[in-house]
């Protein structure tokens, strides 16, 4: 096979459509694994077996065991649960809060709008991980804490998006037309402005799933938020650090999982953006 032929096949394989399908399949399988985790493995993620620590890959333990003899496959599967759940819930929290604040800031002029936008700016001026570190003091550990912390730190992205969308929509004549037929402000927001925000919101939401996942992993790696022994991918990388030279796979596998899911979310977001709202290209 000559080089140009290779290049051609490569091109076909990696065009948008195929990539989107692959990422969709990757995501679906991770979600499936997360849901049916107890069916995949007979072990519990917390079940220790110190006599069998750092076991090599075998039929019993496909990916081996960690320093406490826990099955790595099991911990990866349960880790998927935590990571997916945390990123999904935190993105939802952020979307709801951001949508409401963005609508208010965009539709009503004056002090309230200025205040909301400046608070969003202030939040955006604090580096993301610094913000989550500080907020985690407030919300404490556990899934709820992590969801709130990540959710709040993602809010400004939604506020800014919705604010911009509302402003650009208010310029459209259909908002004026609705006013002229006697429609109230509240109805105009709910019936006309809100539905037209949704396509862009969905795009941002999908992309933020990846961001949330990354933040959760980073927090877990630092040992804040969701703490051991609860299985998380970030935490697993952190735990395997000390035995890196002997058992590198223990660090590489969970990292690979994070990367696959985040990349899949991003590609899906790109695809959705091109399909739903191509104007966002180059902005998100």
């Amino acid at each position: 096979m000559n080089l140009s032929n290779v290049k051609k096949r490569f091109k076909v394989f990696f065009n948008r459509g195929v990539l989107s399908v692959i990422s969709f399949v990757v995501l679906l399988s991770f979600i499936l694994i997360a849901i049916i985790a107890p069916l995949i493995t007979k072990y519990s993620p917390y079940e220790q077996n110190v006599s069998n620590k750092y076991a090599a890959s075998s039929a019993e333990h496909p990916f081996g065991t960690d320093k406490l003899g826990r099955d790595i496959l099991t911990r990866l599967a349960y880790g998927a649960r935590i990571s997916l759940l945390a990123s999904l819930l935190s993105s939802l929290v952020a979307a709801v809060i951001g949508l409401v604040l963005g609508l208010i800031a965009g539709f009503f002029k004056g002090f309230i709008s200025q205040l909301i936008m400046r608070i969003a700016d202030a939040e955006l001026s604090i580096p993301p991980l610094v913000l989550t570190l500080v907020l985690s003091l407030l919300f404490g550990d556990g899934v709820f804490g992590v969801v709130m912390v990540i959710g709040i730190s993602l809010v400004p992205t939604y506020i800014r998006l919705v604010f911009g969308l509302v402003l650009s929509q208010k310029k459209n004549d259909y908002v004026l037309a609705a006013k002229l037929i006697g429609q109230s402000n509240r109805k105009i927001i709910l019936k006309h402005i809100l539905p037209n925000c949704f396509p862009s919101l969905i795009v941002l939401f999908t992309m933020n799933l990846g961001t949330a996942m990354m933040l959760e992993a980073s927090m877990s790696y630092l040992g804040i938020g969701i703490v051991p022994p609860t299985p998380t991918w970030g935490g697993m990388v952190s735990e395997s650090y000390e035995v890196l030279i002997l058992h590198p796979m223990q660090a590489i596998l969970p990292g690979l999982c994070i990367m696959l899911v985040v990349v899949a979310f991003n590609i899906l977001g790109d695809g959705l953006r091109d399909a739903l709202d191509p104007r966002l290209r180059g902005k998100l």
């Binding site: 001026s125 570190l133 990349v263 899949a264």
Partner: protein
């Protein structure tokens, strides 16, 4: 010009004010008495009360805030309750390390990101573009800590090319600084390189479809000039915004990267302080870091005028 600067400065100050209120109140909503944390569970109540008085904790919360701000304006961020040293001194010891890694990371990502983005756009759909697209897509999804761990494993432990941990100041030993900084800098820059590449590519492709690019082509301007002059300058404007927004991501990344490579910069300081509830350090770090971000954004706002004559017009 002056009016514009004053306006941007005003907005920056408002943002910093909100940040101070935020970081101050978060710490004070938290349960637990800082004086008690400082002295330990066994200390007697009288000593705790004395410390509370010394730290102004017995005063009303607004007075505390005003005193804190007053101190900051005099360069006094208070005393660390764990290290018993001035916060300002601790931060000034730590900050240079973070910055000496952050600045090269920014330079690396802007230069590499822009260059690869332009190549991607010119060769859109071609083999090079496909490769770059795959690389950047993967890079965006790569956790910094994992890349760091992977780098330590490969270049440090397996190949013995680079030291795996620690930090040397560039003034002390520059070669050693470079050897130790390579991996942290790459880790800090990886996400930013990828996103600058994506943005540059997307914006350039968008601009290439504009009417004025068609005019340039219709007037026989060579394709290279069309892209490097007519399109790039227009495409850069949104990219600059995006870079300004991403400065904070690099600073945030330092928390992770400093943990991975055991560099005692401001990120690691903050992480430790959060663990210790050393609240004046937390407040100080948050404030300093957000001031750096706001400052960068301010500079970028001014930079706009260089690229966009419309903004320059509004300065007059």
């Amino acid at each position: 010009m002056l009016g514009y600067i004053v306006k941007r400065l005003g907005i920056s100050l408002i943002i910093i004010f909100i940040v101070t209120v935020f970081s101050f109140s978060i710490i004070h909503i938290l349960p637990g008495d800082p004086a008690r944390i400082a002295l330990g569970e066994e200390a007697d109540q009288a000593a705790v009360d004395a410390l509370r008085a010394e730290m102004n904790l017995d005063k009303p919360i607004t007075t505390q805030y005003v005193l804190w701000i007053k101190g900051i304006l005099h360069g006094d961020f208070g005393m660390s309750i764990v290290e018993h040293r001035p916060v300002s001194r601790i931060i000034s010891e730590r900050l240079p390390k973070t910055i000496s890694l952050g600045v090269p990371a920014l330079i690396l990502s802007v230069s590499l990101g822009l260059l690869s983005g332009i190549i991607s756009a010119i060769k859109r759909g071609k083999f090079v573009d496909q490769i770059l697209t795959i690389c950047t897509t993967l890079a965006v999804g790569m956790p910094e800590f994992w890349l760091g761990v992977f780098g330590i494993f490969l270049f440090g432990l397996k190949l013995h090319l680079l030291p795996i941990q620690g930090y040397t100041a560039p003034s002390a030993d520059f070669t050693q600084f470079v050897r130790r900084a390579i991996m942290p800098v790459v880790c800090l820059a990886i996400h930013l390189i990828a996103s600058i590449n994506r943005h540059t590519r997307a914006n350039l492709l968008e601009v290439i479809n504009q009417d004025y690019v068609r005019t340039a082509r219709a007037n026989g301007i060579p394709e290279r000039t069309v892209i490097l002059q007519h399109s790039l300058k227009n495409a850069l404007i949104p990219v600059i915004t995006m870079i300004a927004l991403q400065v904070r991501v690099v600073l945030g990344g330092s928390v992770i990267v400093e943990q991975v490579f055991n560099i005692t910069g401001i990120g690691l300081l903050l992480k430790t302080a959060v663990g210790n509830r050393d609240y004046l350090i937390i407040q100080g770090c948050v404030l300093i870091l957000s001031m750096i971000t706001v400052g960068c954004n301010f500079v970028v706002d001014l930079l706009y005028g260089v690229v966009d004559p419309k903004i320059r017009e509004s300065w007059r």
